[in-house]
Structure formats: structure tokens, C-alpha cells
Symmetry: C2
Subunit: 228 residues, 2 copies
Amino acid sequence: MSSQTPFGLGPIAAQPLHEQVYERLRHALMSGQIAPGRKLTSRKLAAELGTSDMPVRSALMRLQALHALDQLANGSMILPAMTRTRFSDLMTTRLICEPAAARRAVDGLDRAGLVKLRQVAVALTAAAEDQDIDAYLLHNHDFKFSIYAACGSPSLLFLIETLWLQVGPFLRQFSGQFDNDLRGILALDYHDEIVRRLEEGDGEAAAGLLARDIREGYDFLMQNGQFE
Amino acid sequence: MSSQTPFGLGPIAAQPLHEQVYERLRHALMSGQIAPGRKLTSRKLAAELGTSDMPVRSALMRLQALHALDQLANGSMILPAMTRTRFSDLMTTRLICEPAAARRAVDGLDRAGLVKLRQVAVALTAAAEDQDIDAYLLHNHDFKFSIYAACGSPSLLFLIETLWLQVGPFLRQFSGQFDNDLRGILALDYHDEIVRRLEEGDGEAAAGLLARDIREGYDFLMQNGQFE
DNA sequence: CGATAGATTATGCGATCACAAAAAATCAGA
DNA sequence: TCTGATTTTTTGTGATCGCATAATCTATCG
């Protein structure tokens, strides 16, 4: 007799260490815990995570393959600083991919998906009214990817994910700050209308609204963001 | 005295092994040397390349991060098989990204770039007339990326590269074959007209032609490709 | 005090080892 | 000969070691 699972549910599919490290780092990036320009050395991280170098190296190289990290000439990994031109480039590419995904999401969004989407939209407006930036960003991510995941295109979804992996660390720069005048950007949100259009099956309108949403986020951050 | 370079020219910036392995594998993928469904084990590859496992592991994980390889449940890497739905998905996403890049390339293409583009277009038609599939695919890649590289958007270019990394291994299935009736697809090429439109500065028309090119390649492969 | 040479530390990189699980091969019995 | 169990091999994974270079610190001298 081997180590069979006595009950129906198997174990939580013990992931390899390098996978866990990757997820930790990815989450740390996307939640703004790492400052742009920060150097990430495998030994330091390994010591902090209580592993050896190897899993950390793997995770770092994967992140770098996705352009979430930059590699210095000597091989060190850093979270790239955000310049105006890079930000502009990334947002322009987002404007190509994300409205296209929204346009296709109408067919993939079933009733349950629309219900969930509306719930997230409510939480989103609530976070906006509460001036809770962290919750806003979290729900914003949740909202958009609930749409994109329904676009029926794994490859497009993957491209969008890599874009967010590059923009994410920068978006989080306001995380925890309270002295910014975010009321403007937080107030006007098209999310409710986007849901409405999706419910109506009007993907074109939803895509247009989403593009406006991205553009206004772009304008706001070009105004108020801290670039290098 | 250390290992200084006696002359002005330094070494060819000796790349780390894992980088060389990565390039080798990437090239092997894109030139159809690896059959879809093939399992790539780090030890076998390491033995073949004369290195240890580690650089190979790194390279494989980077490729997998870009979805150029799939990971089995036990961690083995395989070149994913191409299904009709996956191919359809990838080509649809190409249709989103690549015309957009072409549209933007008009501003980034200087005289020298246009000259080079026309040269590649000539080589492309020559390869088509010679029924030289390998040369055709090579120049086709060269042609398209000469355009995309001029789109001024590193992020969009990167997305397109990851898409090609996934489609490439499949496109090469005709490599070396001569008994297929490729005259149809090889004959009608929009490349010359694309160059002409780009020279005229009409990015919109170039994008439209490029979309047609992609669509017809898609139709051809859906008809004649070997899917799983 | 400041700059430079030397020493020390940090770091990327690659090889090797060990272990467990999976896959493959071999063998025994019907 | 076919099937099923057992052994052997393969393979992913992670840790440790050593080397060379880069970065940092220190100390000495002008």
C-alpha cells in the first residue's frame, strides 16, 4: 500500500518550490511591494524565503522572460524603472489588446459571469467612494480580468497578463497614500456601463468604454505619476 | 596582470551558457527541428549540448514562461501539439496585434528600412517562385519583423514575438517537403504591395493587406495543415 | 580631508550530488 | 503469449560547492 489519499480530496497538489517562489514574487510585484529600480538578488531572496538559490533563480528568470524584470549586464535582476515613454508604450499596447478582448467577451460571458461581474463592479464603486486605493486596484484587476478571461482566447489573455505584469508595479505606487486627489479618477468609472453593455451583448460599445477607461487612467498617471 | 584584452576589441561578450542554450532551443523551435508533442528532458538535452542540467533547465523554463513549451503534470516539458482551436486562437490574436504594428510602422520606417524591406520582398517572391519553402518561411519572418520592429513599440513587438514562438514550430511542418501544392499560397503574396503602401505612408492600407496575408495563411493551413 | 590601491564581500553562474517519483524495462506466472 | 508485479532507469527538483567577476568596504598615502 502506497500513499493513496484515504478520502476523495487529494492533497493541494504540492507545487514545486520554484513555482511557489514565482507566485510569491509575482504577487509581490503586482501588489507594489517592490520599488522600481530595486535589485533582486537570488541569494538575498533565497535567504528571506528560506530556500536555496535555485528555485529563486528559476523564478527570477521566468519573470525576466516575461519582461517583468530587467537583467543588468552582469546578470542581476532589477524591477525596471518606469519612464514616460515606456509607460506610454505599454498603455498603447494595452489599448490594442484589451478592447479587442472585451469585444470578444460578450459571447463567452454567461449569466453567472455577468452576475459576478456586476458584483465586482459594485465593490469597485464602493472602493472608489471610500477612497480605498488598494481595494480599488484589486477590484479593478478582478473586474477587467473577469471580462478578459471570457474572451475565449487563451493567447490574448496571456498577452494581456504579461502587459499587466509590466504595468502593475507602477500602478501600485499610490498604494497606501492618501494625500492624493484621486477623487476625479476614482469617481468617474465606466464599469457599470461596461457591464450594462456586456449584458446587452453590445461588445463594441463595451470595448469603446474600456478604451476610454484605459485612456483616462493613462492621462491621470501621466499627470500624477512619478516617472524616472 | 589579469586577463585583459590585448587589443582594442573585447571578446564577443561571452554570454552565459543558459543564454546560449536558450538561443539554440529557440532557433530549433522556430526552424521546425522539434516535432510537436516531443518531450524535452533537461538531461538528454544537456548531454547533447555538452553542458550540465542547469543551463538547460533555465532555458526550458524561460521557454515555458513564454508558452512556447508546455509543462506536463510531472514537470516535463513538451512542445505542445497544435490543435485546430489553438491554431485558430493564435492566428486570431495575431490578427489583432500585427496589423496594429504595421499601421504604426509607417512613422518608424526610414529610407534605409524601406530599402531593406524591398530587398527582403524581392527575396521572398524569388523563394516563392523557386518553391523553396524554407527560404520562403525565413524571409517571411524577416519581412514581417522588419516592419514590426519599426512600429516604435517594444511591448507590442514583444507580444508578437511570443505569438510567433508559439505558431512557428507548426508553420515549419512543411519544411523540406516538396510534394505539397504550395503554389497557390506561395504565388499570391501581398508583400510587394505592402511595401508600396508603406512607402506611400498609408499605414492603414498596409495593415489591411497584412491582415489579408495572415488570413489567407490561416485558411491555407486550416486546409492543409496536420493538426492533432 | 580626499583619492586610490588593496582586501573583503556579494553575486551570478555552472557542475555535481542526493532524493523521490515516474516511466520503462524485465521477469515470472498463468 | 499475455498479463501483472518487480526491478531498473529516467527525470524533475532542490541543495551545496567552487569559481570568477563585480561591488563594496577599508586603509594607506599624498
